[in-house]
C-alpha cells in the first residue's frame, strides 16, 4: 500500500490539474480579499468626510473569508460556490482518465486492488484539502496586509456577524488563530471528502461533465432544498446542511450546528468509501 500511495500522492501533487485548481482557488481567495478591502474602505471612509473605522471588526481575523465581515458580496460567494467545484479538479478526474487509458487495468494486475483504490481516495482527499487550505491561508495573508491583527471584540458582533450561538464563536473571540486553524481544517476536510465522492462517482460514470458538473448541480439542488423546502417546516429546529453554507463561518439563513456539519462530512466520506468498496469487490473482467 505504501508504494502505491506514494506514487498516487506524487501524481496528485505533481500534476498539471493540481496546479490549475490551486491557481483558481488562490485567484478566488485574492478576489475575496480585494472585495473586503474595497467594501471596508467605502463603509469606513464615506465621501462626505466622516469616518468611523470600526477598529476591532476590522481585524484580519474578522475580514478573513472564514468569517467574511465586510465582504459578503460576489467574490465572497464566488469563493464558497467556486471552491467546491475547483477542489475536486485537483485529482478526482483520475478515476475516469485512468479507466479510459487502460492504466487502471495495468496497475491492479500488479498490486492489490484495495491498495490502488484506497490510495487514490487518499490522494484525491489530500490534494483537494491542500487546495482549499492554501486558498484560505492566502486570503488570510492578503487581508493581513491591509487589516491589523486586532483581537476581535464580541461587542462588535453586529459588524463581524459572529454571535455567541455560532459555531466556534468562543474560539474566535478568545483565540482567533486557533479559530482560523480549526475552520481551515474543517473546510479542507469537507472539500476533501467531496473530492472523494466525485472520484468514486468516476468509477461508475465515464463522462467527466456528468461526474463533475452533474454532481455539482445536485449539490446546488441540496442547498435549494435546505433553504426553501426545509424552511417551510417552520415548527422544527432549522439548521444548515448544505456544504456550500457549512463551509462558511456563519450564514444569514439558519444556524450552523457543529454536530450536523460533522455528520455531513461523515456522510460524504461514507458515500465515497461505500462506492469504492463496491468497486473493489466488483469483477474487473
Amino acid at each position: 500500500m505504501g508504494t502505491v500511495l506514494a506514487m498516487e500522492l506524487r501524481k496528485a501533487f505533481g500534476g498539471r490539474w493540481f496546479k490549475i485548481a490551486l491557481l483558481l482557488g488562490v485567484v478566488f481567495a485574492l478576489l475575496g480579499a480585494a472585495e473586503t478591502m474595497d467594501v471596508y474602505s467605502r463603509a469606513a471612509f464615506p465621501t462626505d468626510g466622516s469616518s468611523y473605522t470600526f477598529p476591532t471588526s476590522a481585524s484580519c481575523f474578522a475580514t478573513w473569508l472564514g468569517v467574511g465581515a465586510w465582504g459578503e458580496g460576489g467574490a465572497y460567494n464566488l469563493f464558497f460556490y467556486g471552491i467546491v467545484f475547483v477542489a475536486p479538479l485537483a485529482y478526482s478526474w483520475s478515476s475516469i482518465a485512468e479507466t479510459e487509458s487502460g492504466y487502471r487495468g495495468e496497475v491492479i494486475s500488479r498490486c492489490s486492488r484495495p491498495a490502488y483504490y484506497f490510495s487514490k481516495l487518499c490522494a484525491a482527499f489530500l490534494s483537494a484539502a491542500a487546495v482549499v487550505a492554501a486558498a484560505l491561508l492566502v486570503n488570510l495573508v492578503a487581508v493581513a496586509c491591509f487589516f491589523p491583527a486586532y483581537l476581535p471584540n464580541s461587542y462588535d458582533n453586529l459588524y463581524t456577524c459572529m454571535y455567541s450561538s455560532d459555531a466556534l464563536s468562543h474560539e474566535f473571540y478568545s483565540n482567533p488563530a486557533l479559530f482560523v486553524s480549526l475552520r481551515t481544517l474543517f473546510d479542507s476536510v469537507l472539500c476533501g471528502a467531496w473530492a472523494c465522492v466525485v472520484l468514486s462517482l468516476g468509477w461508475f460514470i465515464r463522462n467527466r461533465v456528468v461526474t463533475f458538473v452533474g454532481s455539482y448541480i445536485a449539490l446546488l439542488g441540496i442547498e435549494y432544498f435546505n433553504h426553501y423546502f426545509f424552511a417551510s417546516l417552520g415548527s422544527v429546529y432549522l439548521f444548515e446542511f448544505s456544504p456550500f453554507q457549512i463551509l462558511r463561518g456563519w450564514s444569514y439563513a439558519y444556524t450552523h450546528d457543529p454536530v450536523v456539519s460533522c455528520c455531513v462530512v461523515a456522510a460524504l466520506i461514507c458515500i465515497a468509501l461505500l462506492l469504492t468498496t463496491f468497486k473493489v469487490k466488483r469483477d474487473v473482467l
Binding site: L78, I217, G221, Y224
Partner: protein, 282 residues
C-alpha cells in the same frame, strides 16, 4: 457550406438526442422544484401563492439579486435557485459538443472537408438545446400557473413580498410587465450557452464550466453591464430598477456576445490542431 451544415446538424440532433432530452427534463424539473419551493416559502410567510400569475412565478425564478451596499447586511441572500437554474442550463452545451471532438465527431470534422460547417452545426445544436431547456421551463411554469391561479399573463403584481429585495429608491414598485425581459433573458441564455460551448472546444469542459460559474456569480458583486449574468437577472433590468438594463441594451449585448462567440470560435476552430489534442487529463 449550408448543405454540409444541415447534414452535420442532422447528425448532431441524432447523436446528441439524449442531451436534448436531458435539457428538457432539467428545465421542467427545475421549474417544478423551484416554483414548488417558492410557493412553500410564500405560504410560510402568509402570502397567497394561489393568486400568483405566470409573470409572478417566472419573476421569482429569474429575479437574481442586487449587490449589497455597506451596512445592508441582513437583506443579502445569494440567489442559489437562480444559480442552480443557469448552471443546469449549461449541462447540455458542455456535455455533447466537446465529447464529439473525439472519435467519430472528429473524423467527421476532418473528412467532410468543411470545419466551418461542423462548428456552426454545433452552435446551432447548442441554441436548440438552450431553447429546449427554456421551453421546458416555460411549459412547466404555464402548467403550474394554470393549476394554481389560471392567470397566464406576464404581469407580476403579487410576488414582491417573496422576492426579499432591499428597500431602495432605485427599485420600482409592482406591477411589473416582464414579457420583454423574458425575451431578452432567453437571448442572453442562448449567448452564454454558445460562449460556454465554444470555450469548451478549446479548453477542457471543466475549465469552461469554472469560467461560466465566475461569469454567473460575479454579477452579485457589482452592477457593470458587462457580465452575462447581469442580463439573466430580472432585478438588474429596467423592469425592476429605474436605472436598470434596457431591452435595447440587452438585445445588443446578447447579440454581440453570440456573434463574437460564433465568429471568433469559427476563426480559431478553422486553424485548430484537432489531431494533436490529447484526450487524457494528466
Amino acid at each position: 457550406m449550408i448543405a454540409s451544415m444541415i447534414g452535420c446538424l442532422r447528425v448532431d440532433l441524432r447523436a446528441g438526442g439524449k442531451q436534448l432530452v436531458a435539457a428538457i427534463v432539467l428545465g421542467v424539473g427545475l421549474a417544478l422544484l423551484e416554483t414548488g419551493g417558492m410557493w412553500l416559502k410564500a405560504a410560510s410567510t402568509d402570502v397567497d401563492w394561489t393568486a400568483f400569475s405566470l409573470g409572478d412565478n417566472v419573476l421569482a425564478l429569474l429575479c437574481g439579486m442586487i449587490p449589497p451596499q455597506p451596512g445592508e447586511r441582513n437583506d443579502v441572500t445569494f440567489p442559489v435557485g437562480w444559480l442552480l437554474l443557469w448552471a443546469a442550463c449549461l449541462y447540455a452545451p458542455l456535455s455533447y459538443p466537446s465529447r464529439d471532438m473525439h472519435g467519430f465527431g472528429r473524423n467527421v470534422a476532418l473528412e467532410c472537408g468543411n470545419r466551418g460547417a461542423w462548428f456552426l452545426s454545433k452552435c446551432l445544436w447548442v441554441i436548440v438545446a438552450a431553447l429546449f431547456f427554456l421551453g421546458g421551463l416555460l411549459v412547466a411554469e404555464v402548467g403550474l400557473t394554470a393549476f394554481a391561479s389560471g392567470n397566464l399573463g406576464f404581469t407580476a403584481e403579487e410576488i414582491h413580498p417573496v422576492l426579499e429585495l432591499p428597500r431602495r429608491d432605485d427599485l420600482q414598485g409592482a406591477p411589473y410587465d416582464i414579457g420583454p425581459f423574458v425575451a431578452t433573458c432567453a437571448l442572453a441564455c442562448v449567448a452564454l450557452s454558445v460562449l460556454t460551448m465554444v470555450s469548451s472546444l478549446f479548453v477542457r469542459p471543466l475549465i469552461s464550466f469554472s469560467v461560466a460559474l465566475v461569469l454567473l456569480i460575479l454579477p452579485a458583486l457589482a452592477i457593470t453591464g458587462w457580465l452575462p449574468g447581469e442580463y439573466l437577472m430580472a432585478v438588474r433590468s429596467e423592469v425592476l430598477r429605474t436605472a436598470g438594463l434596457s431591452v435595447v441594451q440587452s438585445l445588443l449585448y446578447s447579440t454581440a456576445l453570440l456573434l463574437v462567440s460564433m465568429l471568433g470560435g469559427l476563426a480559431l476552430f478553422d486553424r485548430a490542431d484537432l489531431l494533436g489534442r490529447s484526450t487524457s487529463n494528466d
